[in-house]
């Protein structure tokens, strides 16, 4: 089962606030991570984002849930800017998981 989340309609064309991303992650992603086989974050309609938003959305998922998050998360509709920010957040999440002694690999 795939849980699809559409960020554009929810937040608009510019994702700018980490606090909103953290709220969204805790409300819409964390409770379903163990339930669904796939969680797709759809960035269609998102033109720009900042590091605060994307990091608050993604880093803790990888840091806390490790390989399960990398196995289940998929990113759709990313323009080149959003993709760089998402890849960077994944990298940071893996770094932090390693610092906690967890083996995580893409």
């Amino acid at each position: 089962m795939n849980h699809e989340l559409h960020l554009g309609p929810q937040f608009g064309a510019f994702l700018a606030e980490g606090a909103l991303a953290a709220e969204f992650r805790l409300r819409e992603i964390e409770p379903y991570l163990h339930t669904y086989e796939r969680i797709t974050l759809d960035f269609t309609g998102v033109r720009n984002a900042n590091s605060s938003f994307i990091n608050a959305l993604i880093v803790p998922l990888v840091e806390i849930h490790g390989n399960e998050s990398l196995r289940k998360l998929r990113f759709q509709g990313c323009n080149p800017i959003v993709r760089i920010l998402v890849e960077s957040a994944l990298t940071l999440g893996v770094q932090k998981a390693h610092e906690h002694g967890h083996h995580v690999s893409a």
């Binding site: 937040f11 510019f14 700018a16 033109r47 990113f75």
Partner: protein, 328 residues
């Protein structure tokens, strides 16, 4: 009463001295009453304007009596009025001119405080659209680099004030029509970076840390007073990469990045290819935090490349893409 006679101009290389003046005057005997003399004021870059306005706000909050003198005959009077400087200072003077559309040139000063929470995207895009209006309606990242970078930078700086400052601030942006630059300035009259670390007690906190140490630390990736803390939602909202990213983006855009807080002052001038940043301990501590970015317009065309370089230089992105399979 003490008098602060404002300098004629404040550019990047005068910001350290300007912050020191703002801080020093309030330490003088009789400073419960301060006169700010505008008679020489000609040109202030956005960072200096926001720092001055934030300082006036702080003095009023500290119950000092503040008088603005020689305002009407100041060389910069019209400019300051168009920037809404006096209006935000509480001095709503009659205007002897027609306000023209500021789009494409400058953004009047905006107050930044907690009331902007959940609206940071809106104000950041509004500011970006003011300086790069033609790009606001496009949806092609290859053609909208300057607009997107201004929105990115302004949003990160506003987030910092909302999350850390515990005091209001001001933001201003100016695009210089005859010069190849766009300049973003934001300053608050809050607790400063060192105190934010002291309150949050992140793992790198050391009570021996000076203001300058705190400023240097804030520019390292993953340095946040709150990265280790839970939020009201039980999880972090901050990974502490905002300022370090802005410093690297500014370097990539051949610009000048300035961060001042308390007595700590840091400036990296890539525009004049100075090999080392200017790091100084100010003689009097500025009561708040200032961040200023001067960016070369011609270098802002490729937001994607600037982000990529900045992330890679900070070790926040690996070369190659180990996560290719996660993108559909």
């Amino acid at each position: 009463m003490v008098t602060l006679r404002l300098p004629a101009v404040v550019y990047d290389d005068g910001l350290a001295d300007f912050l020191t003046r703002l801080a020093w005057v309030a330490t003088q005997p009789g400073a419960e009453s301060i006169a700010v003399d505008f008679q020489d004021a000609q040109f202030y870059m956005p960072g200096a304007l926001t720092a001055l306005l934030a300082t006036l706000q702080r003095w009023v909050r500290d119950r000092r009596s503040v008088q603005l003198v020689n305002v009407l005959n100041a060389p910069a009077f019209s400019y300051l009025q168009r920037m809404d400087f006096f209006k935000l200072s509480g001095l709503d003077l009659p205007e002897a001119f027609m306000r023209h559309d500021a789009r494409g040139r400058f953004v009047p000063l905006h107050r930044v405080d907690g009331s902007l929470a959940r609206r940071v995207d809106e104000l950041s895009q509004q500011i970006a659209a003011c300086v790069f209006p033609a790009q606001a309606e496009l949806d092609d990242p290859e053609r909208t680099g300057p607009y997107d970078i201004v929105a990115y930078a302004v949003s990160e700086l506003i987030n910092n004030i909302i999350q850390h400052a515990r005091g209001p601030g001001y933001v201003a942006v100016q695009r210089y029509p005859k010069k190849p630059f766009v300049c973003i300035g934001i300053a608050d009259c809050g607790i400063g970076i060192r105190q934010s670390f002291a309150d949050g007690r992140p793992e790198f906190w050391d009570p021996a840390m000076t203001d300058l140490d705190a400023v240097r630390t804030a520019l390292l990736p993953r340095a946040s007073s709150k990265a280790h803390l839970g939020s009201a939602w039980g999880s972090r909202t901050n990974e502490g990469v905002g300022l370090s990213m802005l410093k690297e983006i500014t370097a990539g855009a051949d610009g000048v990045f300035t961060l001042g807080s308390g007595a700590g002052f840091f400036q990296a001038n890539t525009l004049q290819t100075r090999p080392w940043p200017n790091e100084v301990q100010l003689l009097a501590p500025y009561q708040g935090t200032l961040c200023s970015l001067l960016l070369s317009k011609e270098k802002l065309g490729n937001h994607q490349a600037l982000l990529l370089q900045a992330k890679q230089r900070l070790g926040l992105l690996q070369k190659g893409s180990p996560f290719d399979n996660l993108f559909t």
